[in-house]
Structures are given as structure tokens and as C-alpha cells.
């Protein structure tokens, strides 16, 4: 826990989450089952689902950490967007990058879920705030 963690955000020290559209619903549901406050981008209007910037804006507005697999598209990815936001002094609640090639494997996806859960259990919302994180490898 960081030295700045003194006030719970929305009654909890733990991050609230926004799952991007390419992440299977069962991962989001598994986090929800562990008492995490979860929203899925699939529930957003279609025009928002299509736009990386709109997704991050929604996450920032709702103070949710964005969980996404988009880190490698040369045209638009959340590493680039994070740098852009930082350059413009804009803040978001945090971004966690997870490997899509692992969640498309039936067995490894549960390992990813466990790694994500461990990561979020060990890092309070304020440690994640405005930072870009890569989900630790297994």
C-alpha cells in the first residue's frame, strides 16, 4: 500500500475495473465474484466500443482501471494513448495490459485470472492511478 492510501475510493481501497471488449466475460465475472466492482465495455454504446480514446475517457470519468489487451496495434494502442495523456497532463485511473494470446488458451486464461487477481489484491487504487502496468508473467 502506498503512503498516500489513506482514503478509500468509493468505500474500498481496491480498484474499480473496466474490462475492454476483447476480454471474455467470464474473466470479468470471475473478478466480480471476488467482490470487485466491474463494468464491461461491451455494455457501452457501439460508437464508444470502437474508440480506444472513448474507452479510456469513460474509465477515467468513472475512476476505473482499464483492463485491456490492446498494446501492440501501431495505429492505436494504450501505451501510445497513455503517453499522449501524460504529455497533455490528463489523468486516468490506471491501465493494466494483459496478454490476449494467453486468454485465448482454455487453461491459461484461468492462470491469467489468478495473476490479475493477485496483482489487484496487492495494489490499491492509488498505486494504479494514472499508471500503465503490464500484468506480471506467471
Amino acid at each position: 500500500m502506498s503512503k498516500f492510501t489513506s482514503t478509500p475510493l468509493n468505500d474500498t481501497l481496491f480498484a474499480r475495473l473496466l474490462f475492454d471488449v476483447m476480454i471474455p466475460a467470464e474473466i470479468a465475472e470471475a473478478m466480480q465474484a471476488q467482490s470487485y466492482d466491474v463494468v464491461e465495455a461491451r455494455a457501452f454504446p457501439l460508437e464508444m466500443q470502437q474508440d480506444d480514446h472513448a474507452i479510456l475517457e469513460a474509465a477515467a470519468e468513472q475512476r476505473r482501471v482499464l483492463i485491456t489487451c490492446n498494446y501492440s496495434d501501431p495505429q492505436s494502442n494504450f501505451c501510445l494513448i497513455h503517453e499522449d495523456w501524460r504529455a497533455r497532463s490528463m489523468e486516468h485511473a490506471g491501465i493494466v495490459l494483459i496478454p490476449q494470446y494467453q486468454i485465448s488458451n482454455r487453461l491459461r486464461r484461468w492462470e491469467v485470472r489468478d495473476r490479475l487477481l493477485n496483482f489487484l489484491n496487492q495494489h490499491m487504487w492509488d498505486e494504479l492511478y494514472n499508471q500503465l502496468w503490464w500484468l506480471p508473467q506467471g
Binding site: N70, P74, Q75, P136
Partner: protein, 162 residues
Amino acid sequence: MTKRSGNQTDFARWAAAIDSSAEEIKAAWEDLQRRGLVAVKRSKVTVSPLAMRRATSDMQRRLAAHLSGYVLTDNSYIVRQADPPGNPCILNTRIAVEHIANYFKEGWGVMDIERDLNILTREEIEAAIQYYLNHREEIERHMQRSRELYEAHAPKREPILA
């Protein structure tokens, strides 16, 4: 929000971009317009975010994608974002062909993928698989890049700031 695309209707220019005839483009435009999926407002062409999904023909889908600013591929369900060109993804979504290829290579069936990524239709998933099979080298390169990026940046044990 609607996507803006250039000034007024220019069927000949759009036809050249889509590699079609102006008559076919005009017919596709008129049907999309009749259904409220495209319009001209204040001399600007606007395209509904639903236009690509609700297109009833290959030509309408290609026209809607072109007017929305996407770079077309040889598959009408698969596009790239432009400037700089992005990785191929399924029309109307941010789901890359590479993502579907990962499922495909793991032995997932179309129905299982559809259940896992329930914003996609069966046609879209099949189109992504077809695109992968027709452009295996390119997509494999993207998959390899994603793997390398993750392995290069993600910490082995303790998380670190990116």
C-alpha cells in the same frame, strides 16, 4: 456520435477508392441513406456507427467503412484504421484478426468464440479466420510481435511501472 467523412456525395471518387462503379456506389448510398445510416448534414457526409453492421451487401459495407475513414482490405468484414495503418481488425469493433487467430490456433470453434466474444457475429468471426488463412504470414508476424512485446515488458515476478 456520427463519423464525418469529407464533403458532399462524390460517387465517382468513392467508386475509385472502393474499386467499383459510380452506379453501384450510388445505389448502395441511397439504400443506406433511406435507412438513416448515412446522411449529408451541413454539406458533410455523416455515417452512423451502426452503418457497417447493418449494411445488407458487400458494397454497402465497403462504402460505409470507406466513409468512416477505414482502409479496406480484400475482405469486406476486415478493415484497418488509417494514418498510420493499423493491424487488421473486424469491422465496427476493436477486435483484431490476430485475436481471432489466437482462438483458432487453440482449436476453438466458431460457436465457442462467438460465446466468448459475444459482440461478434458468426459471419465476422468466419471472416477473421478466413483473413488469417489468406494472410497467414502477416498475422503470424503481428502475433509474434504481441508476444514479444508482452514478454519484454511484463515483469517476471514483481510488477514494475511501464
